[in-house]
Amino acid sequence: MTLETILQVAAGGLLMGLIYALVAAGLSLIFGLMDVVNFAHGELMMLAMYAVFVIWDASGLDPMLQLPLVAALLFGTGMVIYRGMIARALSVQFNRGMVQIFVTFGLAIFIRGAAQFVWGGEFRAVNNTLLSGRSWNLGGVYLPLPQLAASVVCLAAFAGLLLISRTEFGKALEATREDRDAVALIGIDRDRIFAMGWGLGAGAVGIAGVMLAGFYYVGPNVGASFALIAYVTVALGGFGSMLGALVAGLLIGEVEAFTAVILEPSLKQIGVFAVYLAVLMFRPRGLFGKL
C-alpha cells in the first residue's frame, strides 16, 4: 500500500466522518435534552434529501443554495413532531423509555411509506450541481469538492450549535437538561424549549441531508444505513455530548475507511462496531458521556 493510497483513504474517512458527526449531533442534542432516542432520525435526513431533490428538479436551484430553506423546513418538521407526538410520549406515566423508542420507530416506518407514496420507490440523484464532479488534487490525493463543502458546512454547523449554547436560549436549554422540573419555577417554558430542541436536532440532520444530496442518491430507505452509524456515533461519543459526536464521527469515519482496506470492504462496519464495543468496555457511557 502506497503512502498516496493511505492518505487518500484517510481523507475519505475524514470527509465521511464529518457527515456522520453532523447526523449524530442532532440525535445527541435531542437525547441530551430529554432522554429520547429518535429512531426516525435517518428518515428526517431522507426527507431533507427528497426536499433538495424536488426543489432542484423543479427549479434547478443548487443544493448549496437550498441550505437555509431546507434546514428551516426540517426545523419546523422537528417542532411539529415534538408537539404532535413526542410531548405526549413524554407525558406517559409508565414505560416511558419503551414508548418513546417505539413511537419514533413507528414514525420512521410511516415516513418511509409516505415517501414511497409520494415519490415512488425509484432512486433519484441530483446532478450537475456547482460542485459535482470536481475535485482538488493535492499531490495525488483527491478531495472531492461536494464532500469538502459538506465538511466545511458540518464544522460550521457544529460551531453554530456551540454558539447557540452560549445564548440565553442555550442557557435555558442547559438548565432544562440539568433539572426538568426546577426550570418551570424560574419561568422557563419547558415544552417550548423541548420543541426548539427538536427543531434544532432535525435542522442539524437536515443540513447533513442537504449536503449529502449533493453527491449521494436519494430513496425511501436511504436513511437506514446512516441512522445505524449515527446511533453508534452517539453512543460512542456519549449521549448528549456535542464534542463526543464530533470526535466519535471522525473516529468512525477513519475506522470504517481503514477496515475496508485492511480487511474486506464488506466487513468495514464490523470494524466500526468492534471499536465501539471495545470503548464501551472501558467507558460504559461513551468517550465524553456524563449522562
Binding site: 465521511m16 420507490g121 444505513s225 470492504p265 464488506s266 468495514k268
Partner: protein
C-alpha cells in the same frame, strides 16, 4: 385522467364488445410476486407495469404483434379466456414471498406463478409451487442454485448468472481477437448478497480459465454510506476491466466515487442489475458513458426483432420509460407462460407443465435477441444467449455479438 388510465380506459372500450362473448370462458389467473414496497420496490413497480403490458398484448384486441401470443383476444384454445394477473407484494422477504405464493395458489386459484426479482424470494416461491404442484416461471431470478435443485415445477426463461458471465467472457475473448488488445487483468467488485456472490464465483472461475489475472477481489457491503475506500482499492489495482455486480444505488455511488478520486477505469463491464436501470443513467449522468453491461435484451435490435418498438411503445405509454433488461424478460416470461397455457388448451397445472416442457418458441417470436425459448430437463431455458451493450450518449447500444451490433464497441484497453 393521466395517460395510463386513458390507456386502460381505451383498452376497456375496445374490448367491451368482445368481452360479453368471452364471458363463457373463465379467466385464467396467474399470480405475480414482486417486491412492491421496501428495498426492491423500484424494480418491482416496473415489473408490475411490464406484466400489465404483457397481459394487454395477450388479452386486448389490437393489430397482431409479431411475438408469440401477440395476436390478442385472449387464449383462443380456451375459448378466448382472458389471462388475469393477481399481484402480490413480497417486500423482498422470502417468508412473505412464500406466504403470498401460497395465497395466490389457494385463494386466487392461480394456475401458475411468475416472479420474483431476487433469488432469495425465488427460492421460497419455487418450494411452494413444488409442494402445490403448480408451475413457477422465474422471469428474472438469476441464481444458478435455483434450477440446480432439480425441481419438477421450476422453469426459467431467463439466463442465470453462469450463462450471463460466460457471455461476458466470450465477449472479452472476441474483442481480444478483433482488436489484438486483450484484457489481461480484471477487478471483481460485487455486493455481499446472493447475486453478488454467485456472480463473482463464476467470474473468478472463468477469469482463471481465460488466463486473466484477478488483481482485485472486492466484496462490499450493499447500500453502504460510502464507497470511497472501495474506489481507492479499484484505483490502486487499475485492472484492464472492472466487473461490477451491483444494484442501482451502489452502481451510481461507485462511479461517482471513482471519478471523485480522479480514476477513470479503462473498461467497466457490468453484470447488468443496477447498471441497466434508468435511475442509474439519471444518477450517473456523464460518468456512465462507455460503460459496458451484459444484457439479455437489446432495445436497438429492432431490425432483427421488429416487434420490439411496438411492445416498447406500449410499455412506454404505460410506465413512461423504455423497456430494459428486467422488464423485457418479464414480458417474455408472461408471453411464454400464456403460450404454454394456450397450447395446453387447459388451465390444469399438470397440462400447463407438460406444455411448458414442450415449449419451443423461435427467437423471432420473442422480443429478445435470444435464439428462442426451450427448457432443458431442469427447467432452464438453454437458448437465451446474452448480449453486451455500451452506453453512448446516455443510452445503451448493443455492441456484441458483432453481427447484432448497433454500434462499434469503444475498447481502449491496451491503447
Amino acid at each position: 385522467m393521466d395517460r395510463r388510465n386513458f390507456m386502460i380506459g381505451a383498452g376497456a372500450l375496445a374490448t367491451a364488445a368482445t368481452a360479453r362473448k368471452a364471458q363463457a370462458a373463465d379467466d385464467v389467473v396467474i399470480g405475480v410476486v414482486y417486491p412492491l414496497t421496501g428495498n426492491g420496490a423500484a424494480v418491482g413497480l416496473d415489473a408490475k407495469a411490464a406484466y400489465e403490458v404483457a397481459a394487454e398484448i395477450i388479452n386486448g384486441s389490437h393489430t397482431p404483434i409479431g411475438v408469440s401470443m401477440g395476436k390478442g383476444g385472449g387464449l383462443d384454445k380456451l375459448g378466448g379466456a382472458k389471462v388475469r394477473l393477481v399481484f402480490a407484494d413480497s417486500q423482498n422477504d422470502p417468508q412473505k414471498a412464500r406466504a403470498e405464493a401460497e395465497r395466490l395458489i389457494t385463494q386466487d386459484k392461480a394456475v401458475a406463478i411468475v416472479g420474483s426479482y431476487t433469488s432469495a424470494t425465488g427460492a421460497t416461491i419455487s418450494q411452494v409451487t413444488e409442494r402445490y404442484e403448480v408451475p413457477y416461471l422465474a422471469a428474472d431470478n438469476s441464481s444458478p442454485s435455483l434450477h440446480q435443485r432439480g425441481l419438477k415445477w421450476f422453469f426459467r426463461t431467463s439466463p442465470h448468472d453462469e450463462m450471463f458471465t460466460k457471455g461476458m467472457f466470450d465477449f472479452l475473448a472476441d474483442i481480444a481477437k478483433k482488436t489484438g488488445r486483450p484484457a489481461k487483468t480484471v477487478a471483481l467488485f460485487y455486493e455481499d448478497s446472493i447475486f453478488g456472490t454467485d456472480s463473482s464465483n463464476v467470474q473468478r472461475k472463468l477469469a482463471a480459465a481465460a488466463g486473466m489475472q484477478v488483481v482485485a477481489d472486492i466484496r462490499y457491503r450493499a447500500a453502504s454510506p460510502s464507497l470511497s475506500t472501495e474506489a481507492q482499492k479499484l484505483k490502486a489495482a487499475n485492472a484492464d476491466v472492472i466487473l461490477p455486480s451491483s444494484y442501482t444505488s451502489d452502481a451510481i455511488l461507485i462511479l461517482r466515487a471513482m471519478s471523485e478520486i480522479g480514476y477513470k477505469p479503462k473498461a467497466i463491464l457490468a453484470q447488468a442489475a443496477g447498471f441497466q436501470e434508468s435511475a442509474f443513467m439519471q444518477g450517473a449522468g456523464a460518468l456512465a458513458e462507455t460503460v459496458m453491461s451484459r444484457s439479455s435484451f437489446a432495445l436497438d435490435a429492432d431490425k432483427l426483432r421488429p416487434a420490439i418498438p411496438v411492445v416498447n411503445a406500449l410499455y412506454k405509454a404505460h410506465n413512461n420509460k423504455d423497456m430494459n433488461d428486467n422488464t423485457s424478460r418479464e414480458i417474455t416470461a408472461l408471453l411464454t407462460l400464456a403460450d404454454a397455457i394456450n397450447r395446453a388448451g387447459s388451465a390444469k397445472p399438470e397440462a400447463i407443465r407438460a406444455a411448458l416442457v414442450a415449449t419451443d418458441i423461435p427467437g423471432s417470436a420473442t422480443i429478445m435477441p435470444w435464439a428462442g425459448v426451450k427448457f432443458d430437463e431442469m427447467g432452464q431455458n438453454t437458448l437465451c444467449n446474452p448480449v453486451i451493450q455500451q452506453v453512448f450518449g446516455g443510452a445503451y447500444k448493443t455492441v456484441w455479438p458483432f453481427d447484432l451490433a448497433a454500434k462499434d464497441v469503444i475498447w481502449t484497453v491496451g491503447t
